[in-house]
């Protein structure tokens, strides 16, 4: 067990383990990044969108005559216009379908109803205000439980008479009979309902695009802020009927993605239609309220969990039944065979034989989605449930939650470990990570302090989360999105001058890919590099596990050829060469060596007879398995009894993401992930009133944490390399978002357990905490 990756290369080369400063930063700190709103094309027009105030209504008529009188307004596009071209529906990444514009019925508040194209954004906004839409409101379903009732009206009659209900799909995993039997036999059973509310990624840059149709060449270029440009291109080709090779999707700098920039939104398609209609480039940039009200959401899982255990606290079984609220269409970005993502990783870090998980997807009058929020495919939901259940079990049987975890962890020698729901965990050392977190925070002293405070009537709590993440989707036999396999690629070309160009298949939204991929090449080949981007996109912490592996494998192909060239140049056998980053040396003759730069030049000028010139390689990496980062987090909270305000006093995060490429970037990813775990635990949620009105449609009410309330994160590491990954790395961008919320929830419940509080749903707002304390007679 180590706690840092010892660099093998010099600082000048900057391979793995070096905190190399980011190559992308100089442009950002000067305000010279190029985000989508910065793209300006000659003759470019603006598009703005008319949206419905009703969550469910029939469109009786749309009158655009006043809008078209406004100077600068050129066109108003409605569902009727699209229907003529068969463009009014589009497929979702989850295999459902979604309206581009409605022809008869709107299904959620802020749904797109018409698009206005104008010479500038101000005229477009005036046009939107002048389009008159006559609606006939319909009854609204916001509660998925009500949606499943037999008497509920059918939200999606387009699915045909065979599907005259609001149930989308059923998915299950594990052995039901064995789990039922084990639960029935369990000495102790814990049962809870846990709701994980709708939240929104709310990257600071909203979504947008510039669609540029070139009628002469028959070519469409879509400039956009997307995490998955290749998937978008495929969907656009399917919708528009344009040949895929005539569509170019160009991404620019992305102002945060976190999953929200994976889906294909109607706005993109509308901008394309607008450009096709008017023959000019058309820009669409959504504003923040459109972003919060209409773009894909995350979570919205109604979980019922039952945990069985012995009296001594050994877990024996877990059964989970979940209702997944998908809004009016399933527009999740999960791999096609996994409608509930990787939710069955819910057995967590614990060794027990019996588990059964089932999830039912349901339609409601809400925006579609089920995308990530800096989390890979429903893992946050899984971790949230198991980590709370384990804590409740510990409290119920009167055992310290840390001790109970230690006694139930999968032990290091059990890896690779097959879980009861079928995953094979690659590596882990959970007890060491938890112990390290306990040592860092001073766990025993905190428990003493808590006891003293409790005696004085003060509310202080300590919460733990020992999560296992699952990232790096994924092996192509299981993982595809609408048929596109989830491999990733890297193409490396070494130029005669010893400079390197790498093309990778993932897109950065701030993770520092330009730097970390260069470092992988530096590690493998011994020179620093310039990289440029091809693949399915960056989400679910795929970049390092998949594209990073492709980069390492491509580098190794290059190194194999370089060795042959070096042997030729040094007139020795390949086996007689030693490699160290940057050069080959003849064994026992330290003065006889060739640098990688000399070899690069020779690859084009003096390569062995019979060998092809050049030094380049491509690798399409299809991972043999996913990787399983883990960690243990401990949180200390104080609760103001009079107001219900929760303050996170300390938060220690010990992460293990395998070998570390760039420690500075990894820490930065963890800080950000922790903050996006903290946010929904205490502040963020999107709720609806019974009419389907979004209650958090601006940053006035959708509360992103500021620097003031964000805890001062304390981070630590353990390193357990992935045995099947070429560089032993696992991926880190999402671990903290997955692991943090239950630590905070467990701390708040821990503070109030003695009052009879067993659980609390997030966000733990002051009013919610106060209501509980009030009910318990404390506030």
């Amino acid at each position: 067990m180590t706690t840092e990756t010892e660099p093998r290369t010099s600082a000048a080369i900057g391979g793995m383990g070096h905190s190399v400063k980011r190559k992308e930063d100089p442009r950002f700190i000067r305000g010279a990044g190029e985000y989508i709103e910065d793209v300006v094309l000659p003759g470019m027009l603006w598009m703005d969108i008319v949206r419905t105030p009703y969550a469910h209504a029939t469109i009786k008529s749309i009158d655009a005559s006043e809008a078209l009188k406004i100077p600068g307004v050129l066109a108003v596009i409605t569902g009727a216009d699209l229907e003529k071209a068969g463009l009014h529906w589009m497929p979702t990444l989850a295999g459902d379908k979604q309206m581009v514009l409605p022809t008869t019925t709107v299904m959620y508040q802020a749904q797109e109803v018409a698009a206005v194209v104008a010479t500038n954004r101000y005229a477009a906004a005036d046009g939107v205000a002048a389009v008159f839409v006559d609606y006939e409101p319909l009854p609204v379903i916001v509660d998925p439980h009500k949606s499943l009732r037999p008497d509920a009206f059918v939200l999606r009659p387009d699915r045909g008479p065979d599907k005259a209900n609001n149930h989308i799909w059923h998915w299950e995993s594990g052995d039901k009979a064995a789990t039922d039997a084990a639960l029935a036999a369990a000495e102790v059973r814990v049962s809870e309902d846990i709701y994980i509310p709708r939240i929104h990624v709310a990257s600071i840059e909203t979504c947008g695009c510039v669609a540029d149709w070139d009628a002469v060449r028959g070519q469409l270029t879509l400039h956009m802020t997307s995490q998955a440009p290749h998937a978008i291109r495929t969907v656009l080709a399917l919708v528009s009927g344009l040949p895929e090779q005539n569509i170019r999707v160009k991404t620019h700098d992305i102002g945060g993605g976190f999953g929200g920039k994976v889906p294909v939104y109607p706005g993109y398609v509308l901008a394309v239609v607008a450009s096709l209609t008017v023959g000019k480039p058309v820009k669409w940039i959504e504003d923040r309220s459109e972003n919060l009200q209409a773009d894909s959401f995350a979570r919205d899982y109604h979980i019922h969990a039952e945990l069985g255990a012995t009296k001594a606290g050994k877990i024996t079984s877990l059964k989970v039944k979940t209702i997944a609220d998908h809004g009016y269409t399933d527009a999740a970005a999960d791999p096609s065979k996994f409608p509930a993502g990787l939710f069955n990783v819910i057995t967590g870090s614990y060794d027990f034989p019996n588990a059964f998980v089932e999830v039912d997807g349901v339609y409601t009058n809400k925006p579609p989605g089920g995308v990530a929020y800096r989390c890979s495919f429903r893992v946050t939901e899984a971790v949230h449930a198991i980590e709370q259940m384990v804590d409740i079990l510990a409290h119920d049987i009167g055992k310290d939650p840390a001790q109970l975890r230690m006694e139930n962890f999968i032990q290091p020698e059990q890896f690779p470990y097959k879980t009861p729901t079928g995953w094979e965990y690659d590596s882990g050392n959970y007890g060491v990570a938890l112990q390290k977190a306990m040592d860092m925070i001073g766990y025993a002293d905190l428990r003493k302090e808590q006891a003293e405070k409790r005696a004085r009537g003060e509310l202080m709590g300590i919460g733990i989360s020992s999560f296992t993440e699952i990232v790096g989707a994924g092996p192509s036999k299981d993982f595809d999105i609408i048929g596109i396999k989830m491999f990733d690629s890297c193409e490396i070309r070494v130029h005669p001058t010893g400079k390197v160009t790498a093309r990778i298949g993932v897109q950065s939204q701030g993770q520092g890919h330009e730097t970390t991929f260069a470092q992988i090449i530096a590690e493998e080949l011994g020179f620093d590099t310039d990289t440029a981007p091809y693949g399915l996109g960056t989400y679910a912490s795929r970049s390092t596990p998949v594209a990073g592996a492709a980069t390492a494998m491509a580098s190794r192909k290059i190194l194999d050829k370089a060795r042959k060239i070096a042997a030729h140049l040094l007139e020795c056998a390949e086996d007689d060469l030693d490699w160290e980053p940057g050069k080959f040396t003849v064994k026992g003759s330290p003065d006889r060596f060739k640098t990688i730069q000399e070899i690069s030049f020779a690859a084009y000028t003096n390569h062995p007879q019979g060998m092809e010139a050049g030094l380049e390689a491509v690798d399409y990496y299809d991972p043999p398995n996913l990787t399983f980062p883990f960690g243990s987090y401990i949180c200390v909270v104080d609760i103001d009894k009079t107001t219900g305000q929760v303050t996170v006093r300390r938060f220690v995060a010990v992460d293990d993401c395998g070998n570390i490429i760039n420690p500075m970037i990894v820490d930065g990813q963890i800080h950000g992930g922790l903050t996006m775990g903290f946010a929904p635990a205490l502040y963020e949620s999107i709720t609806y009133d019974e009419l389907g009105n979004n209650q958090a449609g601006t940053f006035m009410d959708y509360l992103l944490p500021t620097a003031v309330e964000t805890p001062r994160w304390e981070t630590g590491k353990t390193i357990t390399p992935s045995p099947h990954h070429p560089i032993g790395a696992k991926g880190v961008g999402e671990s903290a978002t997955v692991g943090a919320p239950p630590a905070i929830v467990n701390a708040v419940v821990d503070a109030m357990w003695h009052l009879g509080v067993r659980k609390i749903d997030i966000p733990m707002t002051p009013q919610k905490v106060w209501a509980i304390l009030h009910e318990k007679g404390v506030a």
Binding site: R22, Y35, I204, G256, D287, R288, Q509, Q511, F699, R712
Partner: protein, 169 residues
């Protein structure tokens, strides 16, 4: 559509435009003057991505009209570096990994610059309060605080340096 003439000194250079009175300052900067380093992240004055200095005071340029800034001195992120030489805050953000996606960064740097003008030696609490009108979704603020601390130290050292040399001579 009536327009009004505005004349604004942006990063030391006089710029002029005929604009609709309703044009937001941020759009004047971005669209009329091509200074796209200033970003828009919300509509409600919450996120601070559009922060610039107007007459030496930090302001949210999405909540100010271009006509209100007629005659004013405006400083944007593009005016922070002196040629190739980065402003200590820019250097601090780079050195300390104070940015990830970079979208909030220009506003964050402009607000920090104003903060350090008011308070050259802020405590961590004062820094956090000072940037409470600027939202970052990537970094968790830890490294932003470090970046500002690094820059504060450098700016204080630079301020102290001439005084020391005068004393020496």
């Amino acid at each position: 559509m009536t327009t009004q003439h505005v004349k604004v000194t942006v990063n030391g250079e006089v710029r002029e435009a005929d604009v609709e009175p309703r044009l937001l300052l941020v759009h004047l900067l971005r669209e009329n003057f091509g200074l796209t380093g200033t970003h828009v992240g919300c509509d409600t004055s919450n996120c601070g991505a559009c922060t610039v200095h107007v007459n030496g005071m930090s302001a949210k340029s999405c909540t100010m009209l271009a006509v209100q800034a007629d005659g004013a001195e405006v400083k944007t992120i593009e005016g922070m570096a002196n040629g190739a030489a980065l402003h200590p805050l820019q250097q601090g953000f780079w050195d300390q990994h104070g940015l990830q996606c970079g979208f909030c960064t220009p506003g964050m740097i402009m607000q920090s610059a104003w903060l350090l003008e008011q308070n050259p030696d802020p405590s961590e609490d004062e820094i956090r309060l000072g940037i409470s009108g600027n939202l970052c979704r990537c970094t968790g603020y830890v490294n932003i605080v470090k970046a500002i601390q690094q820059a504060a130290g450098e700016l204080r050292a630079a301020d102290a340096a001439p005084v020391a040399s005068v004393t020496a001579s």
